[in-house]
């Protein structure tokens, strides 16, 4: 059975799972941000949150202090996280450019108005 770890949270070391929970919360918040914000920039922020949520998982899986077996990703985890950060930066730049372009063309940042591709 699943033991609720809350009781020992402060005096026992935390594990991968706890990181994953934080990651999951950020991921879900990000996804919801994307799904509910009408402002394109809000959507972008959601993406950042999602990427960060994923990053937390990579770091947690890469860390060898958080689990009691040796199956960590090791440095690979951190390296992937680094790449994610860099790609996030690139993505942000391009996305921002798209948003600005959209803003110039439509005079709006409302993603609901970007429906030209609908079937």
């Amino acid at each position: 059975m699943l033991q609720l770890p809350l009781a020992h949270l402060l005096n026992e070391p935390i594990g991968v799972a706890h990181f994953m929970v934080v990651g999951a919360v950020m991921f879900v918040c990000g996804a919801l941000c994307m799904a509910t914000k009408r402002n394109a920039l809000g959507v972008l922020m959601g993406i950042e949150l999602v990427l960060n949520g994923a990053n937390i998982n990579f770091i947690a899986f890469g860390s060898k202090y958080l689990r009691n077996d040796a199956n960590t990703l090791g440095l690979d985890g951190q390296l992937i996280a680094l790449f994610v950060i860099v790609l996030a930066a690139a993505e942000a730049a391009v996305a921002l450019a798209i948003v600005l372009n959209f803003y110039n063309n439509h005079d709006s940042v409302d993603v609901d108005r970007a429906k030209q591709l609908q079937g």
Partner: protein
């Protein structure tokens, strides 16, 4: 009761900060506040990285993300911050569907996280024995193609190069995309006369 295990305490602190501000980003309607909350959330995340022993990534998170990417975003906010975009309401139905789907996803993810016993963490005794190793040097070596850490065999030189070039291309592309439109009319023309499926039989 045992004494407080401080790393856990800090994890709790940073974790709650990160989650809390993430939720705040989600719930905030004002775009400027959202940006601020996002900064706080990402900064707290870097704290989590440090706690997990990824000092270099943590630092990069602070520098590139918080220092760079987010500033870019804030530029975006400022460039488009007309009154009517600062607060945009979403339909209640979207919220409900969003929360239904998101809640289900969250539950699933958390359930997955706790379904592997090995992921629950280590004993306190074992934890206090741990030696923290710096990661900057192995990371740097890894990026340059020579892994020094145990278990790693292949370096990341090629990927590193690809990412660098990619970044360059992207930045050039972004600059191209974002520059002010000169030939708006032609662009509109170009897109308007291509009708989908015109070539196909009706």
């Amino acid at each position: 009761m045992d004494a407080i295990y401080w790393p856990s305490f800090f994890f709790l602190l940073f974790g709650l900060l990160a989650c809390g501000f993430a939720v705040a980003v989600l719930l905030a309607t004002n775009i400027v506040r959202m940006a601020f909350y996002l900064i706080m959330s990402l900064s707290a995340t870097s704290g989590l990285f440090f706690l997990a022993g990824a000092d270099f990534v943590g630092a990069m998170q602070l520098m590139i993300y918080v220092g760079g990417t987010l500033v870019l975003l804030i530029f975006g906010v400022m460039l488009t911050s007309q009154e009517r975009f600062v607060e945009m309401k979403t339909m209640a139905g979207d919220w409900i569907f969003g929360f239904l789907a998101g809640g289900a996803l969250l539950v699933t993810l958390c359930w997955v996280a706790f379904s592997v016993p090995a992921w629950r963490g280590i004993d306190r005794a074992a934890a206090e024995q741990l030696q923290v190793e710096p990661t900057v040097a192995p990371l740097a070596m890894g990026l340059l193609g020579a892994r020094t850490d145990e278990g790693g065999e292949h370096g990341y030189l090629l990927f590193f190069e690809i990412v660098s070039v990619h970044l360059l291309v992207v930045l050039v592309g972004a600059a191209y995309l974002a520059r002010a439109k000169i030939s708006r009319g032609t662009a509109a023309e170009r897109t308007s006369h291509v009708e989908p499926g015109a070539a196909l039989p009706k």
